[in-house]
Amino acid sequence: MNYGELFHVTLPETALDLAALLVLLVDLAFLRKAALQVRLSSAAVIGVIGCLAAMWAVGMQTSAGFSVDGLLVLANGGVTAVAQMGVLVLTAVTLLLLIDSSFTKHPGEFVAVVLMAASGGLVISAARDLLVIFIGLELLSIGLYILTAFGKTSAKSAEAALKYYLFGGMSAAFLLFGFSYFYGLTGSTNLYEIQSSIANSGSSPLLIVAWVLVVAGLGFKVAAVPFHLWAPDTYEGAPAPAAAFIASVSKIASFTLLLTFSFQWLQVSNEYLSGARPAVEHYIVSAYQSWQHLALVLLIAAVASMIVGNLAALAQTSVRRLLAYSAIAHAGYILLGIAIYSTYSGQSDVMSFWGNAFNAGVISQNAVLYYVLTYGLTTIGAFGVIGVVERTTGSDKLDAFLGLHKRNPVLAAVLLILFLSLAGIPPLVGFWAKFNLFAAVLAVGGGVWPFALVALAVAMSAVSLYYYLQVLKRAYVMPAVDDTPIHVHPVTMLVLMAIAAAVVLAGCLPSVLQGWIASF
């Protein structure tokens, strides 16, 4: 075990945690008497600088990761780097949108917790060992419980936090239980060893049990049906920046973890490839076949999420709850991309099957990352707008958005762009993300079932237009009850406009972000 190497690999996390300590120090030692606005701004600025430093550290990574006894514990580059960059960018955006909020008198603590939770997100994205995964998840989750509860004067915030905490604790227990099965089956906590052990010995019914338990734990994190019950209450009760953080950063980290699980399952190391051909072929076939069972569990959750999320969103009157259900629906689409991989159906040339399957897998993995990153950005923007409207009207009900185009035309335009993007209207990025994802799913998984699932997803996203339009209808069409202008802090406005511009630009020039993701 080389601590120097460990330090080098965890430099981004270290940068974030140092920034967190610095925020606390500055806020508690020097700014106790300062105005809330000043304290918020300085905490946010230090936090953003911390994120930038961590991004720099991610970009500087050159090694393949941190290994113990030749087994990878923390990965570097590839999916990990993209996800870490995403976590950091979105954390920074969340912090920037914090500047004119007023839900707390302790901005230093809030920002510090955000940064620490984000460092948990970084760990999750890199982890390749069950124990490290669990530590990262808890680091993130505990931060999120605190953030949810931060609106100390709001009963809803407390209720939401308690619910979130109880569900979270329960799901963590399931996850650990599932992990212990994995360990029992294979004698290792390392993902690679687990996979190769199962591929060599063949799958067993206990494997499915273990996987169902793990999916229960991770399904909670990504708010997939039937583990979604916390989401509407938490989205509704948490302070807007905390909700934005939960809806974006935490989602990226958790989906990356699921991607790691699935992709790791279908990888064959070079060491193995150089072995005797029949053994390698048996290994590949067995890995792809055992994934079919595991994928089924994810697909059930995906279908349920798409249907329940979209249908339940139709009935919402609170925009936050509406976004929560729409998040559940989006999780369903993303799970399709994670679950569906090429199926081995008796091809005689196993090696060329594996080559094609692997390439297709990389494409669909990138498509999932693209979706998660752009969805996270759009959601943060949406919560930014909701936060502004809430501060003025005191409500997040649909009717709070009445006449928004008169009260603040720019804010209304941002809302229009973000919601249409969530609904998947071109040329906005949400459309491209969906197209990219569904095209990748069809490319890897030819056949009736992937096609039927994509058809369901497309049909369901047609349904989603209805509820997004419910919000936009109030902003643009229905008469205003109150048309006093809404004033927005210039920084907030600027950040929201930048998000909207990014959503439009990334939609018009999709290959830029796509190329960036593929470049890692």
Binding site: I425, P426, F438, A439, A455, A459, A462, L469, Q514, A518
Partner: protein
């Protein structure tokens, strides 16, 4: 150069969105200039493209990793429909000259819609075409929901959901075709050459065809059309009936029929004389023709008469497409143009010239107003438009519907017979509306509604818009070769080789 119709319209929309509020005159002027510029480019492109086949305007890689190109091109069919869009845009701006509520936003949505429509007609990449197709949906919603009348929010939502459901079907077919062809390209030409398996085409064709046909108002998926047209502000109904429904028909022709030509092959078994998807859709088209005409015959709201007549006339387009022969499909494209012009004309007269003055569209109330004496321009205008619309020789409708009927006779005489009945009913509902709305001698009910007051004089934008559209219909009716020379070679190529 034609590509600039798209860019200009979107730029115009952006400028309108940024214009200071409360200056309607400025907003109108900008919109008129942009629409006129588009029309001029469309005319130049049409004239310049004479005798040429498909001309590629722009072709650059857009998403190289997935083989998606930004391909704009124009063939004879595109040029005709772009010309129609230019005309409809100018007429639409002229007929919405009286919009005072949020004028600049109105024209912003209006021009965004126009830009999307131009884009669809010029796209030769399936992905790009779909992008433009969807761009056209959202402005429609807002145009109707904000500036509309009768049950506008309901109608707008219904229209948006129908459109989005249709485009979801199209997207599923598009994704499947892309994956089936090996995920290399989304070019319409390339996919047309991909030789997709017949069994795949058999189910992709109906999926995509219906997806587009929803927007073309195909029975039984037409119900968005009458409510949408009626609720929409005049300019939006003109665009909806005039060009947006043509987007659907164009998609049916270019995408569904171009990419999946074998989807129309016989199934190998027959049921009640229906043995292929082609028969199914032809029968639905014929039902649409007769059903739309019959329902138009009993409407009490003047605008609903025109709304249902659109369903009937679009039935001719779909029937023409399903003939799969040169003359029938040519007739279908010509009918798209003709109906685009005439529907614009009819909606302009009913929605703008009459309704804005009388504030009623109920035929029973209009009967008592003796509009032929008080609004002679409207009365004679509607008479001309109605005559053109019912297919009298000398106007565009006659040439178009005649060709469709000849083509369908070749395919199946029964279709022609049934569609002919539709034409007869068309004469009946047009005369009925004309008589009730303008030339009735029912006793006047004094002191009700606007009766007794002097109706506002006809304004210059109305006269100009009317003249533009009526003259176009007359010109095409007298000299159809001007469009046919452009349409015929393109249709021939399309029928011969899938998507050329």
């Amino acid at each position: 150069m034609l590509a600039w119709t798209i860019y200009l319209s979107f730029a115009g929309a952006l400028v309108e969105a940024l214009l200071p509020k409360g200056k309607p005159a400025l907003a109108r002027a900008v919109a008129l200039v942009v629409a006129l510029a588009g029309l001029v480019i469309a005319i130049c492109g049409f004239a310049g493209g004479a005798g040429q086949g498909r001309v590629v305007l722009v072709d650059t890689p857009w998403v190289p990793a997935m083989g998606i190109h930004y391909t704009l091109a124009a063939d004879g069919i595109s040029r005709v429909l772009v010309l129609l869009t230019g005309l409809a845009a100018v007429a639409g701006v002229l007929f919405s000259w009286n919009i005072e509520l949020r004028t600049n936003e109105f024209f912003a949505f209006f021009l965004a819609l126009i830009g999307g429509v131009y884009g669809v007609f010029l796209s030769f990449d399936l992905f790009l075409l779909f992008v433009f197709y969807e761009i056209a949906i959202v402005p429609k919603y807002f145009l109707i929901a904000i500036w509309g009348s009768t049950r506008r929010e309901y109608a707008a939502m219904k229209l948006a959901l129908y459109s989005f459901a249709g485009s979801a079907m199209v997207l599923i077919g598009l994704l499947a075709a892309y994956a089936m062809a090996g995920s290399h390209s989304t070019g319409i030409v390339e996919l047309g050459h991909a030789a997709l398996p017949v069994s795949f085409q058999m189910w992709a064709f109906p999926l995509v065809f219906v997806g587009f046909a929803i927007l073309a108002g195909m029975w039984p998926f037409h119900t968005w059309a009458p409510t949408g047209h009626v609720a929409a502000p005049t300019a939006a109904s003109m665009l909806l009936a005039g060009v947006v429904m043509k987007l659907g028909a164009y998609g049916c022709l270019r995408v569904a029929m171009g990419l999946f030509p074998h989807g129309m092959d016989p199934w190998g078994f027959g049921f009640l004389g229906i043995g292929s998807w082609r028969d199914v859709f032809a029968v639905l088209a014929v039902i649409g023709i007769i059903y739309g005409a019959l329902v138009a015959l009993v409407q009490t709201d003047f605008k609903f008469v025109i709304g249902y007549s659109s369903v009937s006339h679009m039935g001719f387009v779909l029937l023409g497409l399903m003939t799969l022969n040169q003359i029938g499909v040519t007739g279908a494209v010509l009918q798209m143009f003709s109906h685009g012009v005439l529907a614009g004309l009819l909606f302009g007269i009913v929605g703008r010239i009459v309704y804005e003055r009388t504030h009623t569209r109920q035929l029973a109330e209009l009967e008592t107003m003796h509009l032929s004496k008080r609004l002679p321009f409207a009365a004679w205008g509607f008479a001309i438009a109605g005559i053109a619309s019912m297919g009298l020789p000398g106007f565009s409708g006659f040439v178009a519907e005649l060709q469709v009927l000849v083509g369908s006779w070749k395919a199946d005489p029964w279709w022609t017979a049934a569609a002919g009945v539709g034409i007869v009913i068309g004469v009946a509902y047009t005369w009925r509306a004309l008589q009730k709305a303008f030339f009735s001698d029912a006793p006047s009910m004094a002191h009700t509604h606007e009766h007794g007051h002097e109706l506002a004089a006809i304004t210059w934008p109305e006269v100009t818009g009317f003249t533009l559209l009526a003259a176009t219909s007359l010109l095409v009716g007298l000299w159809p070769r001007v469009l046919l020379d452009s349409i015929e070679p393109a249709v021939k190529a399309l029928l011969a080789g899938g998507a050329q």
